[in-house]
Amino acid sequence: MLKVKDLNAYYGKSHILQGVNFNVNEGEIVSLLGRNGVGRSTTIKTIMGEVPPHGSIEFRGEEIAGMKEHEIANRGLGYVPENRDVFAGLTVRQNLILGIKDMKKEGRWKMEDMFDMFPNLKQRADVDAGVLSGGEQQMLTMCRTLMGDPDLVMIDEPTEGLAPKIVTQVAELLSEIARRGVSILLVEQKLAIALKISHRLYVMGHGHMVYEGTPDELKENEQVRKEWLEV
């Protein structure tokens, strides 16, 4: 459903993405691994149109490279940024409402679903999102994007800096997302989680993909792990 071909991107003069190729199929969970700074976040940002793309990005057979961010989002691509970008001055409930693209359309997710999965958010529904804990903010950012009923969500390092108990919750939500037929492109630092939930994984090295395989294949392949993942 998502096909990225020879994608290049730049920050000023530095050439960050140097010919990225990969795809995500319908209903698939795909992880994007790699060391810090290789350009995983930039890949997602470029797909969302936040960084100007050079190359081809096809979503459901339509070329989306060059479209505006909101046009891309409205075609069914969801994005959960790495920095927990909540609207700090607005309440939890308002944050969730802002995720909804079309108030008239019934989507896969309702606010009640979110509150059932995360009672913490329900309890603090009318509290400013800025005062939530890091874990709660992470949940909120993910739930907010889901309220927009995306068919593919791209999630950037959702477990970074979270306590083990909350990491488990995040992993459960990821499985729930997949269960409801939403494809996932996941950038994840914790290899164990990525291996557990992904159908396929890509490993990224300086600005392009250096490996593609299934979790089992990657487990076997010590050389790739040593060269591109372990520090």
Binding site: M48, E50, K68, E69, H70, I72, A73, N74, Y79, P81, D85, F87, A88, G89, L90, Q94, I97, L98, G99, K101, M103, R144, T145, G148
Partner: protein, 316 residues
């Protein structure tokens, strides 16, 4: 004394709310663009002139409705085809653009309508004293201005805090990229807010024109006061702009009403002045004479003692 305070209070609130009609739009636009729109008061002036011309043919009431719409559309066009392109060259370019626009509008106004004050009057049905209090009249038109301003204030408050579009505006102002990536058309929101702000300024011009005069200098006269307000209130703070608008409105009307001289005030502090001294002119200055500089005095004091303004947050 009581009637003086009563009327000054009323007039101060009328002026303050009128100022807020400009300050609110300017504040929202500042939060969005990150720069002050120097042409904001020019849209206020356009409102008055457009309404004046319409009133000649179709009467005051048609002008009241149509002129703000015309000005709002003009504002939206300026954002869409001017500012949005200038934006990529940075804040300085935007600032200079709005500066140039202010001059351009002033020249165009003089070109079309001439340099003299226009005979733009309140409608006849509002030309009566609403009530008389201690022998002093309160004109119905002022009450009408008050009513419109309060109506606009409540509408603005409701839209911003209670409606979905208000929520999107708040989100787009603080986190434009994130808001866009949730599927909201942020450029459209910005154009709308800019147009709305200009329409409000235009409406202020429509109702202020008959009361304060419709002349090519009206933008400069009010514009600088509105800048003082948004800085005193705290850049980007709507609540601050509201308080500062009322503060400045009251400050100005009370200063004009209270006919004290500097020496009178000094006497209150037990300081006597020599009527023959070299500073004689200074001592005999009266409050109404220095009223016009009071807002700027307040600005200077605020910048010295509270640089972020009354309700501003320091930028991180």
């Amino acid at each position: 004394m009581f009637e003086l305070i009563f009327f000054s209070l009323l007039n101060g609130i009328v002026t303050g709310l009128l100022l807020f009609m400009l300050a609110s739009g300017l504040t929202l636009i500042f939060s969005m663009m990150g720069v002050l729109n120097f042409a904001h008061a020019s849209f206020y002036m356009l409102g008055a002139y457009v309404a004046y011309t319409i009133s000649l043919y179709l009467g005051f009431w048609v002008g009241l409705i149509v002129a703000p719409l015309v000005v709002g559309v003009l504002g939206a066009v300026v954002e869409r085809y001017g500012l949005r392109h200038v934006h990529r060259w940075g804040h300085v370019a935007e600032l200079i653009f709005t500066f140039g626009l202010a001059f351009l509008i002033e020249e165009i106004v003089q070109f079309i309508w001439g340099k003299d004050t226009k005979a733009y009057h309140e409608p006849e049905i509002l030309q009566f004293p609403l009530f008389t209090f201690f022998g002093q009249n309160f004109p119905a038109y002022k009450a009408f201005m008050l009513l419109i301003s309060i109506g606009i204030f409540i509408a603005l408050l409701l839209v911003l805090t209670r409606s979905r579009i208000g929520l999107i505006i708040q989100a787009a102002i603080t986190r434009p990229n994130m808001t866009a990536m949730l599927g909201h058309n942020v450029p459209l929101v910005f154009m709308g807010v800019f147009g709305m702000g200009c329409a409000l300024a235009g409406l202020a011009g429509v109702i202020a024109g008959p009361a304060l005069g419709t002349f090519p200098g009206m933008a400069v006269v009010l514009g600088s006061i509105v800048f003082v307000i948004v800085v005193v209130g705290g850049l980007g703070s709507l609540g601050g702009a509201f308080i500062a608008s009322l503060l400045i409105g009251l400050l100005q009307t009370f200063a004009i009403a209270l006919d004290y001289s500097v020496s009178d005030i000094l006497v209150a502090f037990n300081i006597t002045t020599d009527a023959e001294s070299a500073f004689r002119d200074l001592w005999t200055l009266s409050l109404p004479q220095i009223a016009p500089i009071l807002p700027y005095l307040l600005l200077v004091l605020i910048l010295i003692f509270r640089p972020t303004g009354l309700f501003g947050k320091r930028e991180s």
